[in-house]
Symmetry: C2
Subunit: 382 residues, 2 copies
């Protein structure tokens, strides 16, 4: 590893693209004839092929979870805080697999790719993909990699939903499901935020009903607004207050609608940056996958019933200041797991960062997460 | 009163427009040469002129706080739950004055009015008005009505900020300030929500930098989005959950971006309705008045210091599920009042409706509010 990378980094990483030719029938009724998944792996698969960990990403995440793409890369992958030598998901112990989900815009097949049926970009015609479909595509990825059973499937937020779904759809194929800052379903308020974000995108005249590529444009303003709306829900009132308070951009009020407060400047910057790198159709798709997720719905609304088929152990972590997916909702999930007779460890971490806390290596979070993952490593080695 | 109105309604009411020719110098540095305020009054002014109550409205409110505009009027004024014979603000006891604030779009001078200097609509050139300016204009209104001292100045949310400002700017001119679901300043998160709402409006191509009137259009989509964003913050997660849960609009998922869930349908409806009646420039202006409000800022950030000049008594009410202006913030305000040696009564009302709870006549809220207002009536009569 070059000396320029921190000692607890996985260092230089390179994604690879895997092609799947077997059609994938989706929950929505449509079929994807063929697709590609872009994948990164960290660490080494052991001889028994028993130490593999699947990382599932959240709304705007991708396959690049840890390490650097070049020596000049200014930032590591999105979950570098938790993946690496000596970190909770210890690459000295585990073989870590991270992918960009189907429908994504970072290298896996999605709206920005060519539809083989039409020869044109999918765009808005890319079918709606659900969490269940992702699990199906990830199971095929496991087959391809020769992984019969994951030591654990791990994810935060929407990623945690995938871990939960894995435990229901392929109960024998994972030892542990780790759900961090997640929920078994969205509330009306969560759906409302998603709807407003979607409305912001689809109202942008540059959206062209999703065919913006054809018009050589991008719904930048809509996507920016969508991200700003989302961003508020990732932070806590407290953390925003600590970060910005009522600090002004200039020394005195300007009495107008240009940026006055630091928090406005920050949100605008974040929104603008995001709108330059993320695909609007993918954003729509990801928010719908969140909305639709509700595994209990197939069992008359009983999560306990849904969980009855699971055989893995669960780790559930929540964060005190997360108002997007509050600790209360993790607690209800854990209650259902307990009632269903499942093995579950639960901790609410006291952290001020809101939903984003799952990305931030606070001491108690790291300690609990690390201890649990070590237990898995011990099991795997035994 | 016609038999068609409820017995505890003020019945048929008619607004009147008052003209003010003395220029008003604003905090922003600009001056409004002349202006009109539209006003409604309920009840009768007593001989001593001591039983007048000023109602201050919130972001989207107006002068029509109680009663009906016609026999066919399907809905009473926005605070009819609290104003009327036998209600907390009892029109058998009080003379109630309610106005549309300067900068509004319901009859008082604002962006939709003609600028006498140019002969054209003000539009985006209407100067930024702050809470302090509103209090100044309301003091002139009091002069006009021959009211030397209000028995109380009363308001919810942004209205409560005006009540607080009254107590600092005209300490001798009010007996009581009633602040309901309010706060002495916005947090970074509050400002962030306002900024996104503004960005939604100004990003709408029909906004034309505020000159949409000239283009014979209205930034409907932006205003709709702004209202939807605001609306989420008025309701609690709990109340949205109770009202809509994950109920579907149709029987099964459609797997697309049209409305799937009832909560989406509701928000879209509310947003659309609002965008047809409210002026976008006024919306921008009102949100900035919220952002700027911070009376402590003139006193080195010390609210206690700011309050030292006040001589009125305060009633502060908050609602348990209000996450826009949480009970915690009312508590801090009350602490400052106590430290400053002011008379203050405080109650946190247990109510599930979020910020909107100040409009909903729940029993304990009504009981406490009524008892306090009766005390004022007794003082006035003594």
């Amino acid at each position: 590893m070059p000396a320029t990378f921190p000692h607890d980094s996985v260092g230089l990483v390179e994604p690879s693209v895997l092609k799947f030719d077997q059609p994938l029938a989706l929950v929505c009724g449509k079929t994807i004839p063929q697709y590609e998944l872009i994948v990164e792996t960290y660490g080494s698969l052991n001889e028994q092929r028993s130490n593999a960990i699947l990382i599932c990403h959240a709304l705007s995440g991708d396959h690049h979870a840890a390490g650097y793409h070049s020596e000049e890369d200014p930032k590591p992958g999105w979950w570098d805080s938790c993946i690496g030598p000596g970190k909770p998901i210890d690459t000295n112990l585990f073989y870590v697999v991270s992918l960009n989900n189907l429908g994504g815009c970072n290298g896996s097949t999605g709206p920005t790719c060519v539809n083989p049926d039409s020869g044109e970009l999918y765009g808005p015609d890319f079918p709606i993909v659900t969490v269940k479909d992702w699990v199906e595509s990830q199971a095929r990825l496991a087959d391809r990699l020769g992984i019969e059973k994951w030591a654990a499937v791990v994810g935060g937020s929407l990623g945690g939903m995938q871990a939960l779904r894995w435990s229901l759809d392929y109960p024998e194929r994972l030892g542990h499901a780790v759900m961090i800052a997640s929920t078994p379903k969205l509330t009306a308020q969560n759906i409302a935020f998603n709807e407003i974000a979607r409305k912001a995108i689809t109202s942008d005249p540059d959206f062209h009903q999703g065919h913006y590529y054809r018009h050589d444009t991008v719904p930048t303003k809509g996507l920016m607004l969508a991200r700003m709306i989302g961003h508020i829900t990732y932070l806590s009132d407290e953390s925003m207050g600590e970060k910005f308070g009522r600090d002004l951009k200039r020394q005195a009020f300007n009495f107008g609608y240009d940026v006055e407060f630091e928090v406005e400047s920050y949100l605008n910057y974040q929104g603008k940056r995001f709108s330059k790198t993320f695909d609007a159709n993918t954003y729509l798709l990801m928010t719908r996958a969140l909305d639709y997720f509700d595994p209990a719905a197939d069992f008359g609304g009983s999560l306990e019933e849904a969980l009855s088929r699971a055989v893995c152990s669960y780790l559930v972590l929540s964060f005190s200041s997360d108002w997007r997916f509050s600790p209360e909702r993790s607690e209800r999930l854990v209650e259902s797991m307990v009632k269903a007779g499942k093995r579950v460890s639960y901790a609410e971490i006291d952290a001020p960062h809101g939903h984003d806390a799952f990305l931030i290596p606070t001491p108690r979070y790291m300690a609990i997460f690390t201890a649990y993952m070590r237990r898995i490593a011990d099991e795997v080695a035994a």
